[in-house]
Symmetry: C2
Subunit: 329 residues, 2 copies
């Protein structure tokens, strides 16, 4: 089993790499090689008996994907993307990476298979940003794609390509629409969704955080641990059951910002909550106002994808995985 | 008012051109120029006081769109496409024309506007092929896009681009998902839907026609006259009311093949019906089996788009517009 992870230097990519090394196998087969690529070289990691390589590549360059695919990985995790805020600010860059980069990858796989039979499993991380307001209170599995950002548009197009290339037998794709990842560890990125993590992550270590929207804002979340679980499930599942509908709303946890804050209070006390500073930001409020709040992800749940149980659990996962199991008192 | 029609040599393009010449105005403004382009040069037409030019261009060539757009048309009808059967047989050609050609056009409009403000109305003919089975009995306005053909995939991607370019203010787009056009005049094309017209068109002039599917097959239809009406409405409507949801299911007429045949019997008698020969074709039945059967096109109807009243009317429109008002007895 040879695995390629595109976007491996990102947070989910690094956690996925660690999880694969710990599991040693995928879909019942021992993992022999993992190739890690990203626009910046992923940190070198060692993996017992697994040969792991890491390097920097630019997937918007059409010459790159054929080189990656010439090694014929069995499973490809395509996680690379320009995030929503940046794709909105830089129209050309967003389309170059999120649309052209994805298309170059799928096309390289097709060309490899035309030369000699090849049909790898491709897991594509899409996003609930493929949906745009107005919404029903809970979005079902058959709700239409009307993104309100260029990022969401690019993800929706990637999904359509994934389905068509799968239907034609060029690859074996599963698109997973991730909830917003919470609590995202490390430094803030340019995603407009950053505050959903920041208002929990910073107070847990005694630092101030900025809340740019109202506490009534409801959103859809999954922990990094749940997200890695989705990726592994997508790599191991029987795709015959998907038919031509290759893109799935992942299960998640629906919560208001106020409910997030109350979970923080239960886990870390009033002192932590007091570190959240309100600074309304109309641009962020505008973007987030167009995002989905809640889903009925019945199809993915029936296919074995599992969400977090509560926001208290999401916070405790962060404390276990990022803070060594404890918070400063 | 300067108008550009891309795909002007096709049946809808020619009828649209005639309708515009007859109307002399669009959205209350006199039409001064019409540029007709297609992959083969559209037939030259004269239009009273309207300056009409016609030429062959290949929209998959990225150098073509900037030239077309440099003349800054006020309204652009983008009708050009590789049809469903051909896009399924020639993967590269379908993507080159239907996806890349559309993207080059939208991008040329954006670049023109970045140089000097410009935001033309763009009417994009999409298709109900953006939907794929299984369906509800009637497809509503918020049903998800899961095409089962490469053509449908390319149209769904064009819609997403149209919406994003409209949202960003680069163009003022309206995507109209046309029902299958019936009765399509002239010679059969490579569309898998061709028989829906053929089984009426050929018998009306005393010729045999082939029916490759069962009479129970239900489908969604509009006459050429209704389709041209949709295009004009899309060019004239107030788009502010659309918000970010720029793509509309057009109204149509839902009928089984058996109901089509009964309408033919009412209009042209048993002798015409006897000219339909059953020749089941598994490939066509398979493609058509993935197509939509009926819609609740409430949104488009509320926006003033009007469908045909009955299949008898669809047949009579063909007799009026194509056969000089009468059929051979």
């Amino acid at each position: 089993m040879n695995i390629l992870i595109i976007g491996a230097a990102g947070m989910i990519g690094r956690k996925l790499t660690s999880a694969l090394i710990a599991r040693k196998a995928l879909a019942g087969k021992p993992i022999r090689q993992i190739e890690l690529v990203d626009v910046v070289a992923p940190e070198p990691v060692t993996g017992g008996g697994i040969a792991i390589s890491a390097r920097a590549v630019d997937i918007s360059d059409p010459k790159v994907a054929p080189g990656l695919i010439s090694r014929r990985p069995d499973v490809i995790f395509h996680l690379a993307a320009i995030v929503s805020g940046e794709a909105e600010l830089d129209f050309d860059k967003g389309y170059a990476i999120n649309l052209d980069g994805t298309r170059h990858l799928f096309e390289a796989i097709r060309q490899e298979g035309l030369a000699q039979p090849y049909c790898p499993r491709v897991i594509f991380t899409s996003s609930i940003a493929v949906f745009g307001a107005p919404f029903p209170d809970r979005i079902g599995d058959e709700f239409f794609q009307t993104p309100l950002t260029s990022y969401g548009t690019q993800k929706a197009i990637g999904e359509l390509l994934l389905s068509d290339y799968s239907r034609r037998g060029f690859l074996d794709g599963v698109g997973i629409r991730l909830p917003t990842i919470c609590i995202r560890p490390g430094a803030p990125n340019k995603a407009a969704s950053g505050f959903f993590s920041s208002i929990l992550r910073e107070p847990l270590v005694g630092q101030q955080a900025v809340l740019p929207v109202d506490e009534s804002v409801r959103h859809w979340h999954a922990s990094p641990r749940a997200a890695v679980g989705f990726l592994i499930r997508a790599a191991e599942m029987d795709t015959a059951i998907l038919g031509a509908r290759r893109n799935l709303n992942m299960p998640g946890l629906s919560a208001t910002v106020g409910e997030q804050i109350e979970a923080l209070r239960r886990v870390a006390g009033d002192k932590a909550v007091a570190l959240i500073r309100r600074e309304p930001d109309a641009m962020i409020a505008g973007i987030v106002g167009g995002w989905a709040r809640d889903f009925d992800a019945a199809r993915a749940i029936s296919l074995g994808f599992q969400a977090d149980g509560s926001f208290d659990e999401i916070i405790r996962i962060h404390i276990e995985d990022e803070l060594g199991g404890d918070i400063p008192s």
